[in-house]
Symmetry: C2
Subunit: 872 residues, 2 copies
């Protein structure tokens, strides 16, 4: 049997979305339940894929089936395509599985030509209406199908108005419109070297092709990338007989939500226009009236509409976004779909519907898009002020939230500004670990370079701080303390505002509004906690972040990085002294001076977390990250620690690496300098002993060894750590439980996870590094080509944001399986960026991890996503 | 049943090497076949491992078994340990599975003490002999068991001689020796705060413990590392009753090979000393006589010895290295083992024995150590001159051979020197791709930094050029054109000599000798070719290397890197222009000027290879590798190609990467700039067309795409290439067959090899990069910690030299399996450094690869290793 590529509206239902697209499936469903839907048919997404497979040709098969359904439509409507007496007119609309902007706009009134326009005039007894419909059709078709710039049509239209001295469109009389049509047709001929197509069947096929083509237009592509929608789904095409909202004052058109998409409040929300066609509402040429006003104008239609709206909401058990048209007092439903909503509305609607008994808790949880609730956790701009603000650049939306402050170009200056009570935005070419304190001090961070997972982006997200990264439009001259955007110069102290949700940079000040958490939000979170089986921990490096994590519901710390502690002003000299030490004794002396700092760090974190588990990762970055690089800084350090400039400079040079990512870091440092991990272990255990005594808190530290690639590495380092623990406990005559585990972030560790599990009580998947090494992508450098990869559809999504389940995931699955084969009760978690990504969390659930760990600000997202994962 | 830890000589045989060690197994074997071997027993390697497992304690078990075998020995010899009338004396020697230097020296005469020495004197009627034996015993025991510096004993001995005015040891009379013994015992007391042990059983246990300890001494460790011997094998200990070669002129001792270990010639080779103990031969105090002289001195013993030697050679079917002692006219065999031999001898002995019918070809092939034949393929120093030369430093033996020349510090200077007929040694801090031409021009390369797989090492090995890398003793000041070693300064033009086999650097000139290949060598190669199933290809980037590869027996090119071609002086400006091009048109223009160069390169290579397959890898390194970095160079380039300095400098800055290894390179370049691969593809296909026309040569180019991590990348790039091929063939109206494949060098490619195989006709495992990414080790940076890893026994061998079969190997095995599951006839090869490493070749065979590819100079090694792999 040949494939069925075209379905009449009475052949489908709401569950056929992947074939008919969202719009088509819902039109079929409304038809099925007896609602007044103008008849029509849907060309399937498979037809679209077929079109691309054939090299952008609509195959014979599909053409035939379209014509066959067209005949059926003519029969049902008792009209004929191109009939000069009683012409069938149709709308043609795209309808993908997920609705997305950038797809082809609707084409209305298709079927009109020089003859049928006369028929339409006669039939409606309204010549002006018929001619204006034709004019609109030529314009729309010319724009979206023939690719003639819209402004050229506008120019003809406006010239006619000014030539005649009219102020409004309605002043145009039939003759004027006929002249415009003539001009439009000339324009078409001039632009595309052919006459405007008069054959309605040809018009239809050209429109279908345009819809298919629009699937691959740049805007749709970008949207799909941003929303992680696969590129091979295709779009359907809906062909529907026209009804007219512009047939006088008993006609009209409108859109309405069954509840407020902004607040979630349970009342009709929408607007309508009398005597207008669909696009007039959206186009904003005339100001529509609130939907409630319809009750006064057409009380019966209003009642019918509200009943239908309620019926649809109860039928779909979700808030609906409905398009309707009234033709001479008769209501037609043109579309219904689940309404898009803000995070706030999503939560309120879900909670209300559970209380209403319409859906259960599980369904409610499934309805909320986890990534969306990020909006609720960060400051936002005051919308009134935002409307008036001037956009000056756009970068990547690296870390959500809104920030406003005065520009500073160095971390030191931002810290200084903070001391003086000045709110700052730190603007850098790119950030490095030395900038951490400046990033803490600033309201937001703007960088010219670096992707979504650059240092600035990762650290800012960890801090819950607004960041716009990779803003290539700006040119930063750090030495001059100036930023250039085109011709404009921004100096230190100038105000700018950043939107971390969009990546926009604005000139001047915009008021920000702090987030509030509603009771509904807590309810959704508690329902999520009931449902999910994955634990959710946070990545937190200090007591403050640990407290935030607990506030957001973290059940422990999955990753406490110890290196950020090393960068604090009062410690960094000792750290540097340790690094450039000439021998082990000097190194130990320097380390000893860091011991009490580290111990206090850990005590603070243990206290913030109470009985919740804390996984502490021992020192990871290469040592050169802690060293100064400019002559000036090296000179200062030389004086500070009393090592000759030349010697110091040579040492710093010697520590440089070609590929630091694959260099002397992680447990490799401990193999060379065991004393570093000894000091850290001592600090951890002493902290545990002291909080036990001082706070009666029984802490079970989880000590994590980074960058292990071979079991012997782990064995060696574990031995160093255990000897130290034994000694500390002996000295203190105390008994503290602990566990020792490892990051799985080197491919080899995953491949040999059975061996490694013999020495590790837990695995934590460091998916950032694991992705870097498995893909061979340097996170810091991938910005140079990753966009080409997306544009050329080689990558569907950024593997640093959403876990590559095929490649990296295979290693995780393998490691989890091998690890359990040796140690069935091994604890498995993930602490890379992916730990806060909903799709990746789904994967973590599927391979049997015990917990995910993410930045404190993503904990609520992870809780919800984990619940959704458990439901799947 | 309890473990058996001790075996009498009549309980074992030659096949028990892993338990008894090589020496013990052979002593047992000789006993078994009835040769005159002084009786004794062997403490097993398991006892050694047990010793370490118990925390360096000889367990009760083992002690008991030693005593029990000791009783048996007393019974057999009718002597008793410590008996003042008839004392049993023994030798104690280590005996590992593989013999290795640095293990404990032999201890002779153990069992002597103040009483038994009197018994020995009475028994032998030679008081001087007895006392001198005791003296020697104390000295040896003091040195190797008690760790008292040897020179302290020598000092006492020499003082006595000079005090007495003696010129020779033999002048010492019994009383003198007794005085020396007294002084020795005082020395022992002073040094170790105890009396010299008088109890023979205690002496024995201390000696056994010393042997076990010596297993882990630094020298033995280093030897094991260099020779890839695992550290957990343990050593056995042989305890054997003494016979004395120093009982007068009817006694003697000697060592002999059944054939010449230097040339392989079939005649006894060795030497002996009359009236001497074993170590005298080795110690070189007296000059031994050639073994042939023994016939004159003791014709009967000589005949017995030659018969025994022949018997042993026929028994073991290999050249033997034999130790013997003659005690009062009676011959005793103390040891036999397969003799170590030079590569030349190994080949001659193997071939001769096949001709003799003693062994078959397969056994012959198995006898030759593949890594050893490297010696035969490179120049060596004239040994007479080498003896007199002054060593000034030691680095890593990065690329074998010997080189002598005048120092130059830049590639340009080396090139210039070559033009002037000067032989140079290029001395650099480290090399980079820009230095290639200089490396070609120089006789040898010396670098201060970089490991065995640094750029210098890899490239030099590829060229078959002598290289010493990572020579940290030298300090290179490139700007001053000076090299410092300690206080000494070497300037441009000074002569030095490098030994790439040892890593030694010598002052001044040393004559080098070019290698010659014997007929036996060719025979061994042809036998290897009969046996092996793996094909052997070479990595060659130009016609010259291709010719060398063919000469060495390469069956194709497995890796033709195209980037080295880009560095040539006349091309590099166009390459740079291409890189800094502002748009696609400029880039294409620059590429077009490279096209004919590339085409000629490929034609040359095709011609050199004839019908043999050639795999060409398209451009791989990040573009910044081709750009200059110093201000001066950038300025020159700016003038050369007419781009403003600031703009050019900014562009170069922009191209810099944090981790170039994981950056914008390989096929990622082609995703961004398809035109680069288009040009290269065009050059390849045009070259194939032209050699077809001009040389009637039907070439089937294999086009290889580097750094693929995802099938979509390969799909995209393959499409670019195939479109180009189609166009070239269309234009030329020709038909050329080709295949397209990919490197498997990114872990993700291996993990998803089934997907990738759908788009690849062949896989070539790039194990250099695959190891880097799987281990997370940067080859260029690992030098900083890899020695710590070896010293701490975390790594048994350098994973860049010998394939890590556990981790990286798992990926290779997986990729081979997945690839074949989708494309059963997929061609599989390896082109990393490991392709020339015998142990890695064994692995390649086991996972079913079709070929290995290595540097031309390693092709013979690979052919032999492949034959051995086929035999296993």
């Amino acid at each position: 049997m040949e494939n069925k590529y075209v379905y009449s509206f009475d052949e489908g239902n709401k569950d056929m979305k992947s074939l008919l697209g969202g719009k088509g499936a819902n039109l079929a469903e409304m038809t099925r339940i007896g609602l007044p839907v103008p008849f029509g048919f849907t060309i399937t997404t498979e037809a679209c894929n077929n079109y691309y497979a054939q090299g952008k040709v609509i195959s014979e098969d599909v053409v035939e089936q379209i014509y066959s359904k067209l005949s059926l439509l003519e029969e049902k409507t008792q009209k004929r395509f191109g009939d000069p007496q009683n012409p069938l007119l149709v709308s043609v609309r795209s309808g993908a599985v997920f609705s997305m902007p950038g797809m082809m706009d609707t084409i209305l009134n298709l079927g009109l030509n020089d003859e049928s326009v006369i028929g339409l005039a006669a039939l409606t007894q309204n010549r002006r209406f018929a001619l204006d419909s034709y004019r609109r059709f030529i314009q729309m078709f010319g724009d979206v199908v023939l690719n003639i710039p819209k402004h050229k049509f506008d120019h003809i239209f406006d010239s006619k108005k000014s030539e005649k001295g009219y102020s409004s469109d309605v002043d145009l009389n039939p003759e004027d419109i006929q002249e415009i049509i003539a001009e439009y047709k000339k324009l078409v001929k001039r632009e595309v070297h052919r006459d405007f197509p008069q054959d309605p069947q040809e018009q239809l096929m050209m429109a279908v092709k345009a819809v298919f083509d629009s699937w691959n237009n740049p805007r749709a592509n970008v949207y799909r990338q941003l929303n992680n929608i696969p590129g091979n789904l295709g779009t359907a095409v809906n062909v529907q007989s026209m009804v007219f909202g512009n047939m006088g004052n008993t006609s009209g058109t409108g859109v309405a939500f069954t509840r407020s998409p902004i607040t979630g409040e349970k009342k009709l929300f929408g607007e309508f226009l009398i005597n207008a066609q669909g696009e007039d509402v959206v186009a904003g040429i005339r100001t529509p009236q609130p939907i409630a006003e319809l009750e006064k104008t057409m009380p019966e239609v209003f009642k019918q509409f509200t009943d239908t709206a309620t019926l649809l909401e109860n039928h779909y058990k979700d808030m609906q976004d409905i398009e309707f048209t009234i033709e001479r007092g008769k209501l037609y439903m043109l579309q219904t779909r689940n309404g898009k909503r803000t995070a706030k509305a999503a939560i309120k609607v879900a909670v209300d519907m559970v209380e209403q008994g319409l859906i259960d808790k599980k369904t409610a949880i499934g309805r909320i898009e986890p990534s969306q609730i990020d909006q609720l956790l960060h400051p936002t701009f005051d919308l009134a002020e935002l409307d008036k603000a001037t956009k000056i650049a756009q970068g990547l939306p690296a870390s959500p939230g809104a920030a406003c402050g005065q520009i500073y170009f160095t971390a030191e200056d931002a810290v200084e500004a903070k001391k003086n009570g000045i709110k700052s935005v730190l603007v850098r070419l790119e950030t490095s670990p030395e900038d951490i304190e400046g990033m803490v001090a600033a309201e937001g961070i703007l960088t010219a370079r670096g992707g979504m997972t650059s240092h600035a982006a990762v650290v800012a997200r960890g801090m819950g701080k607004c960041c716009v990264s990779g803003c290539s439009e700006i040119r930063v001259e750090e030495s001059q303390k100036k930023m250039y955007i085109g011709e404009d110069i921004y100096k230190e102290g100038d105000f700018i505002s950043l939107d971390g949700n969009t990546g926009f940079v604005y000139k001047g000040k915009i008021k920000t509004i702090e987030p509030e958490f509603s009771g509904d939000f807590s309810l959704i979170m508690s329902w999520s906690d009931e449902i999910r089986t994955l634990k959710v921990r946070a990545n937190a490096d200090n007591p403050k972040d640990a407290s935030i994590a607990v506030k957001f519901g973290a059940e422990g710390i999955g990753l406490c990085r110890t290196e950020h502690m090393f960068f604090e002003e009062e410690r960094i000299p000792a750290v540097r002294k340790m690094i450039v030490a000439g021998n082990k004794e000097e190194r130990i002396a320097a380390l000893n001076s860091l011991l009490s700092y580290q111990k206090e760090d850990f005590k603070g974190i243990f206290r913030a977390m109470g009985v919740r588990p804390v996984t502490i990762r021992l020192l990871d970055p290469p040592l050169h990250e802690f060293l100064p690089h400019t002559k000036e800084e090296i000179k200062n350090l030389s004086e500070q620690i009393g090592i000759e400039y030349n010697k110091l400079s040579a040492k710093i040079e010697e520590l440089k690496e070609f590929n630091p990512m694959l260099g002397h870091r992680g447990c490799r440092l401990a193999v060379t300098y065991p004393e570093i991990y000894e000091m850290q272990t001592r600090a951890i255990m002493m902290a545990a002993i002291e909080v036990k005594k001082e706070d009666k808190l029984d802490v079970i530290p989880e000590i994590m060894i980074p960058l292990v690639g071979a079991v012997k590495e782990l064995e060696y380092v574990r031995d160093v750590i255990e000897k130290t623990i034994y000694q500390v406990l002996e000295d203190a005559k105390e008994d503290i439980k602990y566990s020792i585990g490892t990051m799985i972030e080197v491919p080899r560790a995953a491949l040999t996870a059975d061996e490694i599990a013999s020495q590790a009580e837990f695995f934590s998947f460091g998916t950032n590094d694991l992705t870097q090494m498995t893909y061979g992508f340097s996170r810091d450098d991938a910005g140079k080509f990753i966009n080409d990869y997306k544009n050329k559809k080689i990558l569907e999504s950024d593997p640093f944001q959403t876990l590559d389940t095929v490649g990296v995931g295979k290693l995780i699955e393998m490691a989890a399986r091998l690890g359990k084969s040796v140690r069935p009760d091994i604890k498995l978690g993930i602490c890379g960026e992916h730990g806060g990504d909903p799709r990746s969390i789904q994967f973590c659930q599927s391979v049997g991890l015990n917990y995910v760990s993410c930045s404190p600000y993503r904990v609520p997202i992870a809780r919800l996503a984990a619940a959704q994962a458990a439901l799947k």
